[in-house]
Amino acid sequence: MASSAKPSPIPKQSVGPDYRPEKQKPTATVSTEVPFENVHTLSQTPQLIALLTMIRDKNTDRADFIFYSNRIIRLLVEEGLNHLPVVEHAITTPVGRNYAGVMFQGKICGVSIMRAGEAMEQGLRDCCRSVRIGKILIQRDEETCMPKLFYDKLPEDIADRWCLLLDPMFATGGSAIMAVDVLKSRGVPENRILFLNLIASPQGIENFAKKFPELRVVTAFIDQGLDEKNYIVPGLGDFGDRFYTM
């Protein structure tokens, strides 16, 4: 049905819970598979696909766009946090039962790549109440067409923290690469950076995986590719505009 001229195969499959017979599940395009171990794609559940369908649809208004994006972002944060370390921790329950649980370890902070990345801060705060959030502003230089760092403000002790780097759209990865370089220059080890994004391109994923093999990428969906303007295909348009100004 998708009349895309792109050569990459479109992974269309039936989506639904295990107990439901295959022919009762509707089909949808799911995330493109990539061969990198440090890339973690959210489980392609029907609900996630439905949320992505809402935010991709050009007819979805801004209120709905914000709401459905936030739901995906929360799921991304929940998944991202699973990569943080925990230690054994035994407790007693209100009814006196012993429970061999775990306790969260390690300090974290968020780092949003302005402006679209700031849209993900709410979702992070929903899961981590008083998390510190640093900001990085990277813009495309008009003359060189290359990303340029304009501004950053990061927690002073960032080298001791796990960093959740936030940017919803992961196209070529130009600004994300620059942001990671900034974090590394402040002493954050690569393996303590988690890059959270909603929609990624296979090219961006590949660039990253090769350049930062120890950094983990958590994404909701890997799309088919990029168009000539380096927009993700099919993508959802400009995330920042749809979230903030359109």
């Binding site: 049905m1 998708a2 009349s3 895309s4 479109i10 269309k12 989506v15 639904g16 819970p17 295990d18 107990y19 509707p26 089909t27 949808a28 395009t29 559940t45 029907p46 609900q47 696909i49 439905a50 992505l52 369908t53 991709r56 649809d57 050009k58 007819n59 709401f67 739901r71 929360r74 799921l75 929940e78 998944e79 946090l81 699973n82 943080l84 925990v86 921790h89 407790i91 007693t92 329950t93 209100p94 009814v95 039962r97 429970y99 649980g101 775990v102 306790m103 969260f104 929903d126 899961c127 109440r129 168009d227 927009y231 295909v233 099919p234 993508g235 959802l236 348009g237 400009d238 749809r242």
Partner: protein, 463 residues
């Protein structure tokens, strides 16, 4: 695999076989006084009075004019729509919800609205002709005939019609001699023969006339009335006993079964385990408990939504590309099992801020432990919804959950549209629920092997 398809177990809620008591007798013989005395003596929401006045036929124009001139015979069996009455009684007997018409004496017609009756354990059918129609008699568990002398009846009737039905005294007296009295002899009196108990009108005239002073203290029960109350009390105890026994038996019979594939356990990621530790830790502060419970509740609701129904759609992105995705096929609503289920509402609103939400209050009886349905308010169109999330944070014996699903099924929600969402559940309770309702899906975060006393709601709500 065929053997794995578990046999459906049967669950019968305490309202499935409602006991119906018919109370007939002449106008003014004390039927409704007796009914109300019984209800106020028992003071239970499961004993409901159904007045046959609700089943007067709507009058056509001519009959209506007659009625306003007090020339229509309301005291003949022809004035009663027995077909509708029998239908409604049969629905109630089957444990279903019944829509009872509302008759307007001012308009002599049925109102558009109806009153619904659902889940009484004992129903008192009260009316002049409660023991008249053989189809009704078949449905009655006890038949009572109220008797009083004609003078008393007339005076009581005048009082009632003037005070409650806006008639004038002259009209009342006219009706009495034209219709009431002859009808009594022809149709009312003969019902005496089929009655199990005949309750004579005696010492309580004083009370009956001074209606406002009616209470169980001033009301002196005659022997017949004591019998009625004892009968109902015995019935209620029997129903409660068999309900509890059925629940127990269900637990025992499913103890060794495997957990059904319809039970979806939240993936035990390190975050989920960490949150579980905080939530279960008795030393966790109320603030942290609520924060982490809300977070996990939102995750549970997100997971529950994977079990509703979707259809393929193709949408266009702002950049002109097509995406082949999914949309939910219909509306999803939620039903909260109070009180505990209200702890899920913050999580629910994060995911579905505007979903219609029904509420039902099920409390376990302090003495017997039997779950009892006290209150019920569901979205009008719930039967048309494509997904109904039933929310209760903790399944202990599973009795409340079973009852809640039964309520939804009785209201026309298909089993396979119901997703039961719970945080903490005993596996025996889970097995029981999926055995009785094999179409229902359950999404749960944590399971324990057996029954555990409820603690989630009191931690969340602080009392």
């Amino acid at each position: 695999m065929a053997d794995v398809v578990t046999q459906r177990a049967h669950y019968s809620p305490p309202w499935a076989d409602v006991s119906i008591i018919g109370i007939a007798g002449s106008s003014g013989s004390g039927k409704s006084t007796l009914s109300h005395a019984i209800v106020s003596k028992l003071n239970l929401p499961w004993v409901v009075i159904l007045s046959m006045d609700s089943f007067y036929k709507s009058l056509d124009e001519e009959s209506s004019r007659k009625a306003f001139r007090n020339e229509y015979d309301f005291d003949s069996p022809d004035a009663i729509d027995f077909d509708v009455l029998v239908d409604r009684l049969r629905e109630l007997k089957a444990g279903k919800r019944a829509e009872i018409p509302i008759y307007s004496f001012a308009k002599h017609a049925r109102e558009k609205e109806t009153t619904s009756i659902y889940s009484p354990h004992v129903l008192i059918l009260e009316g002049i002709f409660a023991l008249y129609d053989p189809r009704v008699l078949e449905l009655l568990d006890m038949k009572i005939f109220c008797e009083a002398d004609a003078d008393t009846c007339l005076s009581r009737r005048i009082l009632r019609d003037v005070e409650e039905r806006g008639r004038d005294i002259k009209g009342c007296i006219k009706q009495w001699f034209a219709y009431v009295k002859p009808n009594f002899e022809a149709y009312v009196e003969p019902q005496r023969k089929v009655a199990d108990i005949i309750v004579p009108r005696g010492v309580e005239n004083r009370v009956a006339i001074g209606k406002t002073s009616l209470s169980s203290h001033t009301f002196q029960l005659t022997y017949g009335k004591v019998m009625v109350i004892q009968y109902i009390e015995r019935k209620l105890i029997e129903k409660s006993k068999s309900h509890r026994a059925a629940l127990k038996k269900l637990g025992q019979s499913s103890e060794n079964d495997a957990l059904s594939e319809n039970v979806i356990l939240l993936k035990q990621t390190s975050q989920v385990r960490g949150m579980n530790t905080i939530i279960q830790d008795i030393d966790t502060s109320a603030e942290d408990f609520i924060f982490y419970f809300d977070r996990i509740a939102a995750l549970l609701v997100e997971n529950a939504l994977n079990n509703i129904y979707f259809k393929s759609v193709t949408v266009e992105t702002p950049t002109g590309n097509k995406y082949h995705g999914l949309h939910a096929t219909g509306e999803t609503s939620a039903v909260v099992i109070l009180r505990a289920g209200s702890t899920f509402e913050t999580g629910l609103r994060r995911v579905l801020p505007d979903c219609k939400t029904g509420r039902l209050l099920i409390q376990s009886n302090i003495r017997t432990g039997e779950p009892e349905l006290h209150y019920l308010k569901l979205p009008q169109d719930i039967r048309t919804h494509d997904g109904v999330l039933l929310l209760d944070p903790q399944m202990s014996s599973g009795g409340a959950g079973l009852m809640a699903v039964q309520v939804l099924v009785d209201h026309g929600v298909p089993e396979d549209k119901i997703v039961f969402v719970t945080y903490f559940a005993g596996r025996i309770a889970l097995k029981g629920l999926t055995k009785v309702f094999p179409g229902v899906k359950v999404v749960v975060c944590t399971t324990v092997p057996d029954f555990e006393e409820r603690w989630v709601a009191s931690r969340y709500l602080g009392c």
